[in-house]
Amino acid sequence: MWGPYLMRRFALISIPYLWLLALFLVPFVIVFKISLSDIALSIPPYTPQFDPSAGWPGVTAFLSDLDLENFVFLTTDDLYWRAYLSSLQIAVTSTVLTLLVGYPLAYGMANAPDRWRPTLIMLVILPFWTSFLIRVYSWKGILAGSGYLNQFLLGMGVISDPLTILNTNTAVYIGIVYTYLPFMVLPIYAALERLDGSLLEAAEDLGCSRKSAFWLVTVPLSKPGIIAGSFLVFIPALGEFVIPDLLGGSKTLMIGKVLFEEFDKNRDWPVASAVAVILLLILIIPIILFQRNEQKQREAEQ
């Protein structure tokens, strides 16, 4: 018998559940299905189309028309695997660069006097609330051939010819470091802030110099923050679309951009879907590693 309590519980669970099923899982299944279909000059532009009115023979006919052709195609055209590799390389490089910029910043924040810290944290978070697009765009004016950076360097006499930065991978690195810096700084700061100051005193008491105490105590103890921050930068960077589109050049190959163009310009939905499926497969590994790191952290805290 269903009492009112169970009814309410059922409603509470099923409303968000059904929403996510319909608007997250089902679309995803559709992507997967279309990745196994063939391109066609029809609306929608792929075949086979599932026809529920045909009954069971329709289902089997539909299933037998699905194949891995698009995935085979991805391996034959080197555009795709170069795009995957180049995305990986750009994501790794930018993550390392973000760490190099972010760690000293987080370390400085953690060492700052107590009364400054809320303000410093707010200063790191504030850009996050500001439009992502605007922040990426702001670099266009700086990095352009006649941009502020070149004007400044030429004016100072440091260089005689303007640097070409915009529309290169360098601009993409800068864009990623800039937009994802808060994601790196905050977890590292959290780890450093928890660090017990007396540990450093103990290390120095036992004969460490301040430098070696930093490498032997501070860095290992902030490792969970470094790992979390790196994943938080790496994962979105891998599928990034806006930054390479605005700051990168025609030679900048990133899988998010390829996917968008495959879909937008070539209207090849099956291939776009296959690209998406593979991108997701690549992302699953770092995501699982990240989850495991978080899990370990939670267990360590208990």
Binding site: G108, M122, Y137, F290
Partner: protein
């Protein structure tokens, strides 16, 4: 003992300069009166004047606000429900799938989310426009709301709810009278996050919208793909100003509340 060294001071200065210089330059050059966007040609607010005249931008801004208001409100309701189910729901069939669907959109590349929603809308013959953008934004931002709210619910003393039941509340009124007022700051933060995410989103809106609806980020994007535009600088300045004032006000309010609370607690110990 922590020591604030010269090295720390330098890295803070450089780090924050890196974070704020591009935005500052953008704001300054939005007041540039000259023809060449990169060369300072005197102070002027003419770009703001042109911006206000530009109907296309105003329309896009209105669409964006509507989308953000609706999607963040629905997302807050759904996300709070989802958080409650995750933290308090106990065991039920498909719980693992449910929590997977809550966390997956947080790490899913926007291009994939956008593509999959587009294929869904086309597949079922749903006309794309404001409504589809709202649906798309609600879906991903409810996951953010649910993460924010569930982190508050986890630290929530469950005996408060039990006390409410014990004193005669039905489960629903216990939620309304006790749980909701206490987690309200997290729910509001979730709503703000959802609202900002929706205002900010370009990629998913681009996939989910049809010719009938253009959001502000889509408009900005198509304008800036070609190069630097002084009008966009002016628009950006306005948006940055709104966010800055909002965030600073919010943090001052919460800081004042925290200080008052601390003072109260000290007074309570004293008497």
């Amino acid at each position: 003992m922590r020591r604030f060294t010269w090295f720390n001071a330098t890295s803070l200065t450089l780090g924050f300069a890196f974070l704020y210089l591009p935005i500052t330059l953008l704001v300054i050059y939005s007041f540039n009166g000259g023809r060449n966007v990169a060369v300072w040609g005197g102070f002027s607010t003419k770009w703001y004047g042109e911006l206000v005249q530009n109907e296309a931008f105003l329309d896009a801004a209105w669409v964006t606000l509507k989308v953000a208001a609706f999607s963040s409100t629905i997302a807050t309701v759904l996300g709070t429900m989802a958080a409650y189910v995750l933290v308090r729901g106990g065991r039920f069939h498909g719980r693992t799938l449910f929590s997977g669907m809550i966390y997956a959109p947080l790490v899913m590349p926007e291009v994939i989310t956008g593509l999959s929603l587009l294929l869904l809308f086309i597949g079922i013959g749903f006309d794309r426009g404001i409504l589809t953008i709202i649906l798309a934004h609600t879906t991903f931002s409810m996951c953010y709301v649910s993460v924010v709210v569930s982190s508050r619910l986890v630290s929530f003393d469950r005996s408060l709810e039990e006390a409410a039941l014990d004193l005669g509340c039905s489960p629903l009124s216990a939620f309304r009278l006790v749980t909701l007022p206490i987690i309200a700051p997290a729910v509001i933060a979730g709503w703000l996050l959802a609202f900002t995410l929706s205002l900010d989103d370009l990629v998913i809106a681009n996939f989910a919208s049809g010719p009938s609806a253009t959001t502000l980020p889509m408009k900005i994007w198509s304008a800036v793909r070609l190069g630097v535009s002084p009008e966009i600088n002016a628009l950006s300045t306005i948006l940055i100003g709104i966010v800055t004032v909002g965030v600073i006000t919010a943090s001052l309010v919460s800081k004042r509340a925290a200080v008052k609370r601390q003072r109260d607690e000290q007074a309570a110990v004293a008497n």
